[in-house]
Amino acid sequence: MEQDVNIKIIDRDGITHEILAPTDMAMNLMEVVRSYELAPEGTIGICGGMAMCASCQCYVNSTHELPEMQDDEEAMLSEAFYVKDNSRLGCQIQITPEMEGLEVELAPES
């Protein structure tokens, strides 16, 4: 569909998935991962998307301009494990047309 964007997601087992994500359903990256079941239920999106658990941490491998990190996301990442410079919380990245071609990798479960 026209409003879908292509996203490349590497799951926690290192397998690459090229998927289509809708831009008109107010979905975030964490929800896209769940909708495709790329991580087992109960291991991602535990807090439901409130930036309060870091179970949706991912590494952004492409150079997309992402929404600026809010205080709560920054604070959560400062307490999370396996954090890298390109870490973000998937629940804080909304799927918009600008996300076309986004490449991310899911951080290990912790």
Binding site: G42, C47, M50, D71, D72, S78, E79, F81, Y82, S110
Partner: protein
């Protein structure tokens, strides 16, 4: 041995509402929860966040929902085993179950309702290679008895409310408190942050930021921790201490329930949703976020519905062959196990002259 009619594992919203629905059927409930307080995720993760899809509440804070559910089920006098995790289940010859917690508390009931959400909350352990060697030998992930820190040197790591609050509390108990966090900013109530600032200025809390604990030194018990500080020039150094308390929050794990012989799919317990939410083991039910069936939605309101149907099935197990007909609380009122009675006021009949 604690004996009850329905043993509920998990004291979140679904578990608490079960107490009410069971009470209407004159069934008593006892709840086990790994957390020290009832409410599950609503109390532990997001007590101050609003929920908008509880019927008849356009908006309610998760913490307030817990309080309301406790108030609603109060007259049915639920028992609680808090701060303990349900570990094993053993079916008895008479068909009842005995559930034992990690602390050895035993509970017996003819019906077990697992309302465990995403599982029991376990502390998140920092990635320090030798940390497990020092568990209960100076490393504690949860502070249970603050007195063990009296006149000791304590290092706390973390940047949330529990790290701040315990640093403040222990500054009066321990001989030395050091708080280590990866950033200069802390995520906590403003007054806690200000209090820590004040205690730091007074020299009662030793604050090290931005820094991380990367190792533990000791022989059978904690002697010191290794800190990596990133300020200006990166450096590593040791801090002598008796205790290291990493407070990085909790994450839910299905845990021992996964070994109870229940059919598990996608980290959830498979149930019969066409009938009563019973699992593959008769007498054990799973309700709320912990279960799965075709079309399952993990919503609090769905948990309430599942709890209600489950209680009807539990009634039939506990009272075989006994007649019962659904009653409306408006018509019948509520008779509490504590002797209280709630009922609709009687209509007033009076002539108009």
């Amino acid at each position: 041995m604690i004996k009850t009619d329905i043993l509920i594992i998990g004291a979140g919203p679904t578990g608490l509402f079960t107490v009410f629905e069971a009470g209407l059927l004159k069934l008593k409930c006892h709840l086990i929860d790994a957390l020290p307080q009832p409410g599950g995720q609503c109390s532990e993760i997001y007590p101050k966040k609003p929920i908008y899809d509880i019927p008849a509440y356009p908006e309610i804070l998760a913490g307030d929902l817990t309080d309301k559910l406790l108030e609603q089920c109060k007259q049915f006098e639920p028992g609680f085993t808090l701060g303990e995790r349900a570990e094993t289940i053993d079916k008895q010859e008479d068909g009842t179950f005995i559930v034992t917690t990690n602390k050895g508390t035993k509970h017996q009931a003819p019906v077990v309702a697992i309302a465990g959400g995403l599982g029991s909350f376990e502390p998140r352990k920092p990635l320090i290679h030798n940390i497990t060697d020092f568990e209960d030998k100076g490393v504690e992930y949860i502070i249970k008895d603050p007195e063990i820190y009296r006149d000791k040197k304590v290092v706390i790591a973390g940047g949330g409310d529990s790290a701040l609050d315990w640093s403040i509390f222990l500054s009066d108990v321990a001989s030395e408190v050091t708080l280590i966090h990866r950033r200069n900013e802390f995520r906590g109530h403003l007054d806690s942050v200000e209090k820590v600032q004040d205690l730091k200025n007074k020299g009662k809390i030793n604050l090290i930021t931005p820094a991380e604990v990367i190792g533990i030194v000791g022989d059978r018990k904690v002697k010191a921790i290794v800190v990596k500080q990133a300020k200006h020039i990166e450096k590593e150094f040791e801090i002598d201490c008796d205790h290291f308390v990493p407070l990085f929050g909790l994450s839910p794990k299905l845990g021992p329930i996964a070994n109870w012989g229940l059919e598990i799919e996608k980290n959830a317990i498979v149930v019969n949703n066409a009938l009563d939410y019973q699992t593959n083991i008769p007498g054990i039910f799973a309700i709320g976020d912990v279960n799965t069936y075709p079309g399952k939605l993990k919503l609090i309101l769905c948990g309430f519905h599942e709890a209600t149907l489950m209680c009807q099935a539990a009634y039939k197990i506990i009272n075989p062959g006994k007649r019962y007909v659904l009653k409306y609380t408006t018509v019948s009122g509520i008779d509490g196990f504590d002797g209280t009675r709630k009922e609709a006021p009687k209509a007033v009949v009076k002539a108009i002259e």
